[in-house]
Symmetry: C2
Subunit: 406 residues, 2 copies
Amino acid sequence: MISVEQHLSRIMGTVKVIRPFELGVLDAQGCVLAEDITARGSLPGFTNSAMDGYAVHAADVASATPEDPVVLPVVNDIAAGNTHALSLAQGQTMRIMTGAPMPRGADAVVPVEATDGGVVRVQVRQRSVVGQHVREAGEDVEAGDVVLRRGTLLGPGQIALLAAAGIARLKVVPRPRVVVLSTGDELVQVGLTPGFGQIVDSNSVMISAAVTAVGATPFRVGGVKDDARELMDTLEGQLVRADAIITTGGVSMGAFDTVKEVLSRVGTVQFDKVAMRPGMPQGFGLLGDEQVPVFTLPGNPVSALVSFHVFVAPALRAMAGRPEPSYPPGYVPAVASEPFTSVPGKMEFLRVVLDGDSARLAGGQGSHMLGALAAADALAVIPEDVTSVQAGDAIECLPLLGREGL
Amino acid sequence: MISVEQHLSRIMGTVKVIRPFELGVLDAQGCVLAEDITARGSLPGFTNSAMDGYAVHAADVASATPEDPVVLPVVNDIAAGNTHALSLAQGQTMRIMTGAPMPRGADAVVPVEATDGGVVRVQVRQRSVVGQHVREAGEDVEAGDVVLRRGTLLGPGQIALLAAAGIARLKVVPRPRVVVLSTGDELVQVGLTPGFGQIVDSNSVMISAAVTAVGATPFRVGGVKDDARELMDTLEGQLVRADAIITTGGVSMGAFDTVKEVLSRVGTVQFDKVAMRPGMPQGFGLLGDEQVPVFTLPGNPVSALVSFHVFVAPALRAMAGRPEPSYPPGYVPAVASEPFTSVPGKMEFLRVVLDGDSARLAGGQGSHMLGALAAADALAVIPEDVTSVQAGDAIECLPLLGREGL
């Protein structure tokens, strides 16, 4: 029996960041940069107005007050998108819009609110200083600057900066492609009615959804029979497109545990009992020429989803180039609102409903109980050496993926 | 000038939950249920074994101990997926795997670990009680039970429960389809090099990414010229597929603010100055026969993204049927690590970098400054009546979408 921490350490010490791939900037959302990015152009690319108003020589309006406005002739209008370089003579002004290029010679913008808004002649009612309401070319970003560093997660603001700085394609760590495969003669496809002794293959659906929720791309293979040949052929066929493979089922103490039987013979997959409940039988290793990580999760649905959160999610995040999480990753503090019991010597993951930071059991805690799982917001994590938790005790919880507001 | 709260209240009081739509269970991830769901079958669907072991009559092994085991003949093997109903006579046992149907007459399972693992005769070394390691049909869910309520957000566990309970299609609130449209003669498409006076249309890219990050589906229309006819035609053409429309640009005090010009004449769109920085000029209303909500955001990229977080994201969540967030929604506490200043009478949204809960300014705070925006993790929200924050003061932050680990 190994500890949760030992099994996770082995996984995190084995998985590698996926080979970078060039993507268009529009497709890179949620990916991590695999290179430093240098701006092709400056931002702003040209000196422009920060306000709707009037471009002036600041010296011309130095004496302007509401009582004693300065009157200037308006000699032109400059809209955003005006691509002509204009010049402003002293003693004149041009109407200018936000984002429009400043005319040569002008060194300040008087906001329209500080004028009478005239279009032929304008009364300027406020003094201005050099540079006021002017955005200088390059004041945000200079061409040649490194604008984003390798390792940056690309969200809306980062993608906007890349697009604005002239970057159309870039090297990122792609989203992991994850083959999800459930095993068992008892499985029938979603939508079919199971007969006596059969169950719907809900595991591949659930784990695929969890893969999506963690930001990776699932390929669901559905139920594979408990047949060594069929399983091996399926695995070999899927290896070409997989950055990782997740199986559920077939790893326990049974006489027909095909995953364990097949994978014990190939690759580096190692099967362990892990001191946790649910989720004790776990396997992990590398498969094929490309050394694809394979996670073999137990077949009970609650065990499978707990295992995904505890072992697979951190591994997929690391493969996607996210900064390695501290251990334990992503835990949030909570308070038990009722007593919990836990087996000694195992880390227990109880399904709980959170009401603010108050945690209560979500119902039946059997590892086959989907009803309670679906009612839960989080897993309460009870350490190996704790066997009972009292109402009011501080506990740690691992939020369930896909249950928080997007 | 209206307050942020007034503008948000008007928006939240106007938008409606999108009309429910029937989806396959595999496509419903991230959606909210629009109906109560009743289980078609029970879970488990048949009484089955919770362990790999031996099905027994508990009475037969009542005296078993390690020193004085009970020996039983093994008359059959029952694998998961066995679809035959078997019967177990007293004084006999069958090997049984996890998930396999219990034979009639058997009332307990002895785990393989409590035996010698025999396949012809087995030594049982531990007593068992009725029901031990047996999962009763319907103990998780009974056919006809309401398993999930209208309003539930569907994550991996919920989808697994639906699939297992025989639900293939279900009514959900679909993800909002959001048309994203940026306006301005100065815009060039991403990937093209802007000339003098031009900029790359990074706003439509950024806002589309933000729409995705909030769980909705963007349709990016890119740059529309500052031409009333073109804008109106584009809007009318897009209305058919839009649950909402977001525009950027053209809503300020300028002489060529086409969005304001066009939308002031149709629908119920109302333009306001909102007491916030950045993001003062805001518009919102309903457009077309279908009363599609239209958000007209300012064109400065920082203003646009701040406005999205403050006004659009809560509205899209409400349209998707998520429980209405409290106001202010989604704020997290932090501590200023340096002094901040803020204009009086406006709610200020400063771009900050978070290091744990310690917040420092992300750089230049101009509303055109994408560099600082892209360096930021969150917006520090400084209320209208606060003009200075000291190092060590508690503040509230709105995390930027798409910057947290998926």
